[in-house]
Symmetry: C2
Subunit: 515 residues, 2 copies
């Protein structure tokens, strides 16, 4: 069986000590192993700080962008192989796998293009020169420069391909070397990508740690950045880490998120806007088996429309074939790990104690093409409550699977915004309405709780990717429960890996620095 190696200090090493198995979550068959100890992390940090930083400092934004373009090309060249790994190791359908892998390539290409646009510079200007003296001779000018340190990327199990790329692209373009740590259970896609990327990059620019993080954070210092995507329990551990606190290590977190979808009071379910709403809810429940940090978990509909919404959801969800995604008829695969299955079942039980069943009971399902009793499967589950703003199980706990809860409201935009706020900070939420006054009132009140707000309407329905898709040009992150972080958003994504400095001095000197 393949023993996945880590790529550290310029070479592939398999580590030592006890091994952990990676399995096919549809069949529970072991497909690879990782060793959990024995890597020299101090040497890896030193390699990044010396070789990695020196190499990147020599490159302009355009040259770093060209490297990113070569990585995107490498993904395209190995696309079928990567899709097969995602199906086998992630429980992904082919569509799920493409969403992850193509999403990674798109993000690399976006930052490759941004690099070309930023051109021959290594410093970013921030705003215009500001006169700070009696005459225009003395000015202030804000600039961004690459932080002197290492970017540590700790990724989630659900997007091994996209997660690697969406953190790597802005860090590398900004000028920081990266040590990337995928979630162990689904590491095969990221591992293969780094096998493809490593020969294309200068030494020290990208390293990969497969297996437990171990003492990774013990090596961090004041110039470093740690970017984490995952659950709130791990997020708390990172925040409280002694070395992170002592050195003000920059920490970006994307954690739990109880994303909501609001159906506006003006929307007929049979209209284009209504159809968009229903399609988005069903897609977010079933794509990646609901294992998207951006998926809709909470749905609010005008009081009186619940029954019609339930009818459509029952019909659509009832037609989803669940099973081994290697089987071509399958539309929804298993959850990624046994632990995820335990967590989702526990979450459904918690919801069941406060809500009523609409579809799917507690998620029991007989999957297609799977040995009896095997696989981490759960079926789509819709629950409902008459009092969605008061329901703690709905608003305080994210169930990371194909589960959503629907409740009514009295059409008021302020109530809808209160429901958004009840999630205490989300990565994204969506509202579906063609009533501009209602939308304007809602946006002003809801936006402070959201990293992204998707406004579904008839005029954009035909070309919408849905709220669950993260685009490289728009920021990704959210306040409060969602972790308080921010990634991507075009050039904004670079800022997380750079230091803003206010330069003060003679106008001619400062302008020549940015020329």
């Amino acid at each position: 069986m393949q023993l996945l190696a880590s790529y550290l200090s310029g070479s592939w090493s398999q580590g030592q000590g006890p091994r952990a198995s990676l399995v096919n979550p549809a069949t529970e068959a072991p497909i690879a192993e990782v060793a959990t100890q024995g890597h020299d992390l101090a040497a890896a940090f030193a390699h990044a700080r010396s070789a990695g930083r020196r190499e990147l400092a020599q490159l302009t934004f355009a040259q770093r962008g060209a490297l990113l373009a070569s990585l995107a090309k490498a993904i395209h060249g190995a696309r079928e192989e990567l899709i097969a790994l995602a199906v086998a190791n992630g429980g992904n359908t082919r569509g799920d796998a493409k969403f992850d892998i193509d999403g990674g390539a798109v993000t690399l290409s976006h930052y490759a293009e941004l690099g070309a646009k930023l051109g021959a510079a290594r410093i970013l200007g921030d705003g215009e020169p500001i006169q700070i003296g009696r005459t225009a001779r003395l000015i202030g000018q804000h600039i961004w420069t690459a932080r002197h340190g290492v970017a540590i990327h700790i990724n989630a199990f659900n997007f091994p391909g996209w997660g690697l790329c969406e953190k790597l692209a802005p860090a590398l373009l900004a000028g920081m070397p990266v040590i990337s740590k995928p979630a162990t259970a689904t590491a095969m896609v990221a591992h293969r990508m780094v096998e493809l990327f490593a020969p294309l990059l200068p030494p020290g620019v990208l390293q990969l740690l497969v297996g437990p993080a171990g003492t990774l954070l013990d090596h961090t210092g004041p110039g470093d950045v740690v970017a984490f995507t995952g659950g709130s329990t791990t997020a708390r551990t990172l925040r409280a880490h002694e070395r992170m606190i002592a050195h003000s290590v920059r920490l970006n977190i994307e954690a739990d998120s109880l994303n909501a979808a609001i159906l506006g009071p003006d929307v007929d379910l049979a209209s284009e806007t209504g159809a968009l709403f229903l399609a988005d809810v069903v897609r977010d429940m079933t794509q990646k088996t609901g294992q998207k940090c951006t998926a809709i978990r909470r749905v609010l509909v005008p009081a009186g429309t619940e029954a019609a919404v339930f009818d459509v959801l029952r019909e659509r969800l009832g037609g989803i074939v669940i099973g081994d995604p290697a089987n071509e008829t399958v539309r929804m695969g298993p959850l990624a790990t046994a632990q995820q299955l335990r967590d989702v079942r526990e979450g459904i039980a918690r919801l069941a104690s406060e809500t009523e069943a609409v579809f799917g009971g507690t998620g029991e399902v007989t999957p297609v093409g799977v040995p009896a009793g095997k696989g981490y499967f759960v079926g789509p589950v819709v629950r409902t409550t008459p009092t969605p703003l008061e329901c703690a199980a709905l608003n305080d706990h994210e169930v990371f699977g194909p589960v959503t809860t629907v409740g009514p409201y009295a059409n008021d935009a302020a109530l809808a915004a209160q429901f958004i706020a009840r999630g205490e900070g989300c990565l994204v939420s969506s509202a579906y309405s063609d009533d501009r006054d209602w939308v304007a009132s809602f946006v002003g009140q809801a936006a402070p709780w959201l990293g992204r707000l998707y406004l579904g309407s008839a005029k954009m329905a035909a070309q919408s990717p849905g709220p669950g898709t993260v685009l490289p040009s728009l920021t990704h992150g959210g306040p409060g429960r969602a972790g308080g972080g921010e990634e991507l958003g075009g050039v904004r994504g670079l800022h997380g890996y750079m230091q803003r400095t206010a330069l003060q001095g003679d106008a001619t000197v400062i302008k020549s620095l940015l020329a």
Copy 2:
């Protein structure tokens, strides 16, 4: 004796429990007291969250700016009274007091003008619309909206007036209600300012807690912002606070900073640039008795120039009259508290173990106009080391008083940048040179470790405020040891109190929201 009250939930209340004394640090005479317990902080948070936020949400940026203008005017109207309080309670000379109080008014006025410029809006746009669909119909647009929560401001003892205003102005303009907590020992200026401000502001917009923070942070939630200026020990406690971690409460920290000044290899001490360098070093040692978070603590000069630099420093510092700042001949007052005196003496002893004396021995001084043995006085101290990059006492510990250490270097910009980096993150540093190539090489390498970089040169010398002055138009903060935070910087200062949200939807709808 005056018992300073807190302004909470719309009224002034004196609290209960044991009392702490505020003293005149020149004479140690008690001049006021505060009670350390008995305030209903839960009610104060509720008042901010309900009344304060509602009032601010109704106001446009222009209207909030007009409020800030009225506060600046109130300071001007009570300027002499405030200066007298700063002299008596802060050990400030009249010049020190004006620096604090006028600095506060200038900052309020800056944000008042920004409010007028932002006009009738309540939402800030961020960048241009981005086409994200097949056609220009589907766009993304980033916006900033005021966070739904309370801004908790915990200020340092050294700038009670400016500290209150520089945090209040951007928070209030952004749209967040404030609870401000000055350092207890020097709270009289902030207390008087809030007495002046309170009648000018809508209910709940500004509250004041005088005395210990107590359980202040236990009331924070996911929409809140805590902004702290002070020492690294308290900063660590804030970062590790359970509720802050659990709710991703946004935390902005300005902590210790070993700011450096670098004399370029091209500079003759007798030149305009040389004179600027010497004046800036002497000002930063003596202004506020060296108790500025932006003061120069570390000085690097070309090898061979040390003796000439020492001659000038000895002459200038020897002429400084130290004593009770109520005495008009006095140019430098005491440190603010007994604890600061202990800390500075300990810091000088630590430096003495690794450096040689140049001026002022260990800071013993006989102050003018002070009862024998009274007051928290220390004289200016200059130390030197032949190996400034290796000296731990110099680079690892901030001595928050009139103390600086000078060392030589071999003229290389890379070495100068390494010296900056050795501080592990500074609020500000300065370089003095008229050699553009040297400056360009230095800036690229040093900027990642600095929140602000002051470039002293002949052409700007005549109108320079020195590196120690924080301007509202430029960001204030620094990476690593300096806390990793950022304040001010014009509109950038508002962002710390707002949430960035990526809107996605129909172009016409989104453009109408920002119109």
